[in-house]
């Protein structure tokens, strides 16, 4: 028996439920192409692209905690106009959906960006949830009204599937997600990183040049599971689970909580190939076989009490 690993996600047909999370490939179209050649990968989200180019923060920008990571890259990217040209070249060279992550700071930027990027993307992921970037990300994404207006403006200019990526750094994530759903998003990606920091006890200073950064990896997985579960209870749109997926068990946990697909970010650290995706896919496959499920679709949200 070979369980069906294909998923349908807001109109995107994915050969595998595993998606490369935004940011972990930087702006390298070469990395996108390389990872797209891995059969266990179902789609790729680009690095979040902003209206203007950004160098990002000075080093240090990353901390390895063992049980997770901190990063404060500061959304480095060449800006949407420049990146559009690179994506145009890439587009025909890859066989899986390309989800372009955009980080507008207001409705006007959102509109211009999607208009320009429509042709080079299969879907958009609206990132209003970066916890360590002024005026972008969380400053916008924690205010339901701003989320509603930016989402509406994005929706107006694209008919491509539209995802919103939500932050765990808010009192009520369902409220934010609901605002986005009402404004027209097709699916929700949960979660982005948690605002955190590290101090080196010998240097006696914050490690990150930006002081604050985002916590990702193993440490945030139980928070991701909770938020996916809450969103699944409250809303009707599909959910993409993201946060601390290192192995098949982590992925299954999020799917049972209600995720239709899974993003993998930090777990690619240190790996000089992308075998992690093959390992996770094999584990998920074996799990479905052992439990007698014919398709990954059969277990989505199964942990909800009835």
């Amino acid at each position: 028996m070979h369980p069906d690993m294909k998923v349908e996600l807001a109109g995107l047909a994915l050969r595998s439920p595993l998606i490369v999370a935004s940011g972990v490939l930087g702006s390298s179209t070469g990395l996108i192409k390389r990872v797209s050649e891995n059969n266990s990968v179902g789609a790729v989200v680009t690095k979040t692209v902003t209206y203007n180019p950004r160098n990002g923060y000075e080093n240090p920008t990353a901390v390895d905690l063992g049980f997770g990571f901190l990063n404060a890259m500061g959304l480095p990217n060449p800006g949407y106009l420049d990146y559009k040209n690179e994506l145009a070249e890439l587009r025909d060279k890859i066989e899986i959906p390309l989800i372009v992550s955009i980080g507008p700071s207001n409705s006007e930027e959102a509109a211009e960006m999607v208009k320009a990027l429509n042709d080079v993307s299969d879907a958009f992921e609206l990132n209003l949830s970066c916890p360590h970037t002024e005026k972008l990300g969380l400053e916008v994404g924690s205010d339901p009204e701003k989320v509603r207006s930016i989402t509406a403006s994005t929706r107006k200019y694209t008919s491509k599937p539209l995802f919103i990526k939500v932050s765990p750094n808010v009192t009520d994530v369902v409220e934010i997600a609901r605002a986005a759903v009402e404004a027209g998003v097709d699916a929700i990606t949960a979660i982005n990183t948690l605002k955190s920091m590290a101090i080196d006890v010998n240097a006696m200073k914050p490690v990150l040049s930006n002081t604050y950064g985002g916590l990702s990896g193993r440490a945030i997985h139980p928070i991701a599971v909770r938020i996916v579960y809450e969103l699944y209870e409250a809303l009707e749109v599909p959910i993409v689970g993201c946060g601390g997926v290192y192995d098949w068990k982590d992925a299954i946990e999020l799917i049972l909580a209600g995720a239709s697909a899974i993003q993998v970010g930090s777990a690619i650290a240190y790996s000089n190939d992308f075998k992690i995706f093959n390992d996770i896919e094999k584990g998920v496959n074996d799990y479905l076989v052992n439990k007698g499920f014919g398709s990954i679709k059969n277990i989505i949200g199964l942990a909800h009490k009835c």
Partner: protein, 270 residues
């Protein structure tokens, strides 16, 4: 069990040796031993000065040397540190050189490259492998680590662009002459990228196995930010490299394009 809770290894500057007007070597005493393979690199941090990747020029238990060219803010600040000052190291990162290939090794170092090749040289000596070390610079005042290499009894040949010492010409020109004189099965090279690509092409034409150590903008150092990618092949300098078999990357952006800090593709100038 739960990872690197110290985050960084603290290191104290024991001595600052001026190599040239632009290059200094810091001799560091580590608070904790690090096991660094030749060609692997460290992320070197000093609060408020920043953090940059450096391939050490000596790695002996709790002593590490960093040979740093002052090219911008952080490198200049680090290169100017005095004895007693503290810096912080994380790593080692990356793959390092493969020194298991049989045959003789020709080491080609431009700029600080000669220094960064020294741990590989020492390892090869330890293994009883025959080596020749080519060191190049604009002029005789620009040569890095030559005295140290002499001290270490390396078999050195020098090239200067202005002919003020050794061969009159560039390292790639000199390299051509040398391999015409005597064949080497292996080349290891660190230096300006334009130089390395010429060496690599020459090796390709002559059937020599060539390993190059690449520089790209390294931010995380651990493979999850994509900043250091070599396109269009999508290799990450920090985890797939920094050392590559030249054959694998000839015909890519190697020697031609890199990404700047914003991830924009720009021309390689040096």
């Amino acid at each position: 069990m739960f990872g690197k809770l110290h985050y960084y290894v603290e290191a104290e500057v024991v001595r600052n040796i001026s190599e040239t007007s632009r290059v200094n070597t810091l001799v560091l005493k580590l608070g904790q031993c690090m096991d660094i393979k030749p060609g692997q690199f460290l992320m070197v941090w000093r609060p408020s000065d920043g953090e940059i990747p450096i391939t050490p020029s000596l790695t002996q238990e709790d002593t590490v040397c960093l040979t740093i060219e002052k090219v911008g803010f952080t490198s200049s600040r680090l290169a100017g540190l005095k004895a007693g000052e503290k810096i912080f190291l994380r790593g080692p990162y990356g793959n390092g050189f493969n020194l298991e290939y049989p045959g003789k090794y020709l080491l080609v170092g431009g700029g600080t490259g000669a220094a960064s090749l020294t741990p590989a040289y020492l390892k090869l000596v330890e293994k009883g492998v025959q080596t020749l070390f080519l060191v190049g610079g604009r002029n005789s005042d620009n040569l890095v680590y030559v005295n140290k290499l002499r001290e270490l009894k390396a078999n050195i040949r020098i090239a200067t662009d202005d002919g003020s010492l050794g061969f009159h010409g560039t390292l790639p020109e000199f390299f051509k002459e040398i391999i015409a004189e005597s064949f080497f099965e292996n080349v290891l090279t660190i230096g300006p990228e334009k130089m390395m690509v010429k060496i690599a092409e020459e090796c390709h034409r002559n059937g020599i196995r060539c390993q190059v150590s690449l520089v790209r903008i390294v931010k995380c150092g651990i493979g999850f930010c994509g900043s250091c990618a070599l396109d269009p092949v999508g290799l990450r300098v920090c985890v797939d490299g920094p050392v590559f078999n030249a054959e694998e990357i000839l015909g890519t952006d190697f020697g031609a394009y890199m990404r700047n800090e914003a991830g924009r593709r720009v021309e390689v100038t040096l």
